[in-house]
């Protein structure tokens, strides 16, 4: 059996006295789409930053493409990064560069390709994300959905083996968000890469995931395929899915009276 492209082994992280990730174990297979889900403060973004090698865990190990990213040399980490692409939540496009130059940057930095070949590759990737002809626009001239698409184009321009997407459909209207989900599936289909998506959007997660890992308070609450999670949701998972906050002894009438005084009938 092929080695997973990502292996996370007993990952634990503390910020001071606070434990933000607790004993996380997961693996991502070649060509798989793994969705990491959870509410605000569940630790999903922290986990992503660990997977990107931007944070060091307190304990545990992360292997990406066979390399322990917290123990390898800088040059080895650079090699790993050349085979991975990242689309950040806000796009993180360089505001001083045009869309085309943003996408061109990894190619110019890491390949010895001539300008005309790079131009062709940039145009191809822009076509894949349905932004053909927009290479001359500046990031500030793009809509939210177009920024996400341009960020995805930049993330896959080197044909990476592994793609990370941070909240790819956050802040978008449902139609545009669905388009981004379709685009992620299309990229996997076209380029055959493994994809890790961090999101809090339930609909999006169940649509694109081969497997979902649900985080709650820094620990894995549940893990499985969308079908498995639908078939056997635990009480806590159900609450999370239904977005019903757990507020013990909450007295709505008393709360309203405190807020509005006598105006409440």
């Amino acid at each position: 059996m092929a080695e997973p492209v990502i292996t996370v082994d007993a990952l634990t992280t503390h910020y001071g006295a606070q434990c933000v990730l607790r004993d996380i174990n997961l693996a991502v297979a070649e060509g798989e789409i793994l969705v990491i889900m959870g509410g605000s403060g569940s630790g999903k973004s922290t986990l992503l930053y660990h997977l990107l090698g931007l944070l060091e865990p307190t304990e545990g190990a992360i292997r990406i493409l066979g390399m322990d990213i917290n123990r390898c040399s800088n040059r080895e980490l650079e090699d790993v990064r050349r085979h991975t692409g990242v689309a950040f939540q806000g796009g993180a496009l360089f505001s001083s560069l045009s869309v085309g130059d943003n996408i061109r940057l990894p190619l110019e930095e890491h390949t010895g390709l001539d300008r005309s070949t790079i131009d062709i590759m940039v145009r191809m990737k822009l076509e894949v994300v349905e932004l053909a002809g927009r290479e001359h626009l500046m990031p500030s001239q793009l809509s939210g959905g177009m920024v996400k698409r341009a960020a995805l184009a930049r993330a896959v321009v080197m044909d990476p083996r592994l793609l990370f997407c941070d909240e790819p459909s956050a802040g978008l209207d449902p139609v545009v968000a669905a388009g981004i989900d379709d685009l992620i599936l299309k990229l996997r289909e076209a380029l055959g890469m493994s994809i890790v998506v961090v999101t809090h959007e339930l609909e999006s997660a169940f649509k694109i995931a081969d497997r979902i890992v649900v985080l709650d308070q820094g620990a894995i609450l549940a893990s499985g395929s969308p079908a498995e999670l639908r078939a056997h949701p635990s009480d806590k998972l159900q609450r999370l899915f239904n977005r019903q906050p757990e507020i013990p002894d909450f007295d709505a009438d008393a709360y309203l009276h405190r807020l509005m005084g006598d105006a409440v009938p």
């Binding site: 931007l54 993180a92 930095e109 010895g112």
Partner: protein, 265 residues
């Protein structure tokens, strides 16, 4: 009310933070020198195009304001010099004071203060904004070293252009002073220039140029350290921008005094 222990704790924390910032500045300088020397061998050279762009922004675009300030300072020195020496009936010796003050002190100092306000603040604001927008993280995960890409070009630009601007300010200041002296004492510009030639030594100009190299390092490193240390959103960008200007100007003035103390006595 804060207890003595609380206050000591605040002082201690700020001291540690200050030492850490000095350490970071040293590490950034070492990293920049590393990329300047080793970058081409690793096929990751410092972007000379960006460095040239920085030179234009730091130097060429600052020429109008530097000209105005240089002329003003020159005239001011002439006014004060003539006023002071008139008490001793020695107005004709004003050229000595103007020449040495302008090249050794006011030229480098005024130019550095101006560039700190103009380019140091811009550098801090740009880096802070990029950090908040995750653009710095995007560079890192693309395998592009942020120091090579973002820090080395402006540092190089400042190191080249601040000494050049200083020499320009010296020239403009001396011209402004000459025009005033000619008008006030009827000395004539040619005799004034001849007197300058007799009084000024190459060492005097080099003294100012040497200081401007140190000022360039201070402006760049203080801007980068503040930009990299931003926290919060837009408010944080404003805070580090102001902080970088205040710190840079303070560092320039204190260094100027130390330099004068060490070299002039």
């Amino acid at each position: 009310m804060a207890t003595l222990v609380d206050r000591l704790e605040i002082i201690g924390r700020r001291t540690v933070s200050g030492v850490a910032e000095v350490g970071l500045a040293g590490a950034l300088l070492a990293d920049t020198l590393f990329w300047l020397v080793v970058g081409p061998w690793r096929r990751q050279p410092v972007r000379l195009g960006a460095a040239v762009q920085q030179m234009a922004e730091v130097g060429v675009y600052a020429l109008p304001i530097v000209t105005v300030l240089g002329l003003t300072i020159g005239v001011m020195l002439a006014i004060q010099g003539i006023y002071t020496l008139r008490n001793f009936g020695a107005e004709s010796h004003v050229v000595v004071g103007i020449a040495l003050s302008m090249t050794r002190e006011f030229g480098p100092l005024i130019t550095a203060v101006l560039v700190a306000g103009r380019s140091g603040s811009a550098l801090a604001a740009r880096l802070a904004t990029m950090r908040i927008n995750q653009e710095v993280d995007a560079l890192r995960v693309m395998g592009i070293d942020p120091v090579r890409y973002l820090v080395a070009p402006p540092l190089l630009g400042l190191l080249v252009m601040l000494p050049a601007l200083t020499v320009f300010t010296d020239g403009v200041g001396l011209l402004g002073a000459g025009l005033y002296v000619d008008n006030e004492l009827g000395m004539g510009l040619v005799p004034y220039a001849q007197r300058l030639k007799d009084v000024l030594k190459v060492d005097d100009v080099l003294h100012g140029v040497g200081k401007s190299v140190i000022f360039a390092l201070l402006i760049a490193l203080i801007g980068v350290v503040n930009g990299a240390g931003v926290t919060g959103g837009a408010e944080g960008v404003g805070r580090v921008t102001t902080r970088s200007v205040v710190q840079a100007i303070s560092a320039i003035v204190i260094t100027d005094m130390l330099f004068a103390f060490a070299v002039t006595r």
